[in-house]
């Protein structure tokens, strides 16, 4: 069975500080991982996907198969980064299995 673990429900950092949101997964197949974000009063939206190896809004995430992790990182946090972040694993026919989420607060 698949599992996505986000160990931190809440994370607070100061503006300009580095931020890392942790995500660990368990899956018997070849993992395909995503980060979704929900800003206040907005819809859940895709932030980035591991296969694209892209940087979105300064965020990056590297898939580490040895540690079964897909941590989200940004070197300098901004106030507008405050949001709810969900790590998700794609299983089956384009089905997403979500973690419980981490609420990031960037303190001015």
């Amino acid at each position: 069975a698949q599992r996505v673990t986000q160990p931190e429900k809440l994370l607070s950092v100061f503006k300009g500080a580095p931020v890392e949101l942790k995500c660990n997964y368990s899956y018997s197949g070849s993992p395909e991982l995503f980060w979704y974000v929900q800003y206040s009063r907005q819809r859940l939206q895709l932030l980035l996907r591991h296969i694209s190896r892209e940087s979105i809004k300064g965020f990056t995430a590297d898939l580490n198969k040895g540690e079964t992790s897909f941590h989200l990182k940004k070197p300098f946090a901004q106030e507008e980064d405050s949001a709810m972040y969900y790590c998700a694993l794609m299983t089956g026919a384009n089905n997403l299995f979500f973690g419980t989420g981490t609420r990031l607060t960037v303190i001015p």
């Binding site: 384009n94 997403l96 979500f98």
Partner: protein, 117 residues
């Protein structure tokens, strides 16, 4: 491009009553999903449609939940009868269903917040 539309945005009912939610996906999107998000948890897939056929409904509590997408466009999700534990946000999402499923982004609606008293 208009996003995924859902209605109503909020619904309060008493247990054992029935409720229905409506979703209109992005035009041209073949795949439609319904998720349940209980407070403090991530979204959980209930059912996935491709056009008007069900792809996956393994997590749908079929004794009380039903969903349909008769014309392959909009969809309704029904709960009958509702229980207290059904209180949640019900999210609808759609995707284009291109050849590359990993690159195929799911777009989410605003959700319907259901409170069962």
């Amino acid at each position: 491009e208009a996003g995924v539309a859902q209605s109503p945005r909020y619904k309060i009912i008493e247990k054992r009553q029935s409720v229905a939610f409506w979703c209109n996906p992005i035009s041209g999107h073949a795949t439609l999903y319904w998720y349940q998000q209980i407070l403090g948890q991530g979204p959980k897939l209930l059912i996935q449609f491709q056009n008007n056929g069900v792809v996956d409904d393994s997590q749908l509590p079929k004794d009380r939940f039903s969903a349909e997408r008769l014309k392959g466009v909009d969809s309704t999700l029904k709960i009958q009868p509702a229980k207290l534990e059904d209180s949640a946000v019900y999210l609808c999402a759609s995707s284009l269903d291109g050849e590359d499923r990993v690159a195929d982004t799911q777009y989410f609606g605003p959700g319907t917040r259901l409170t069962v008293l």
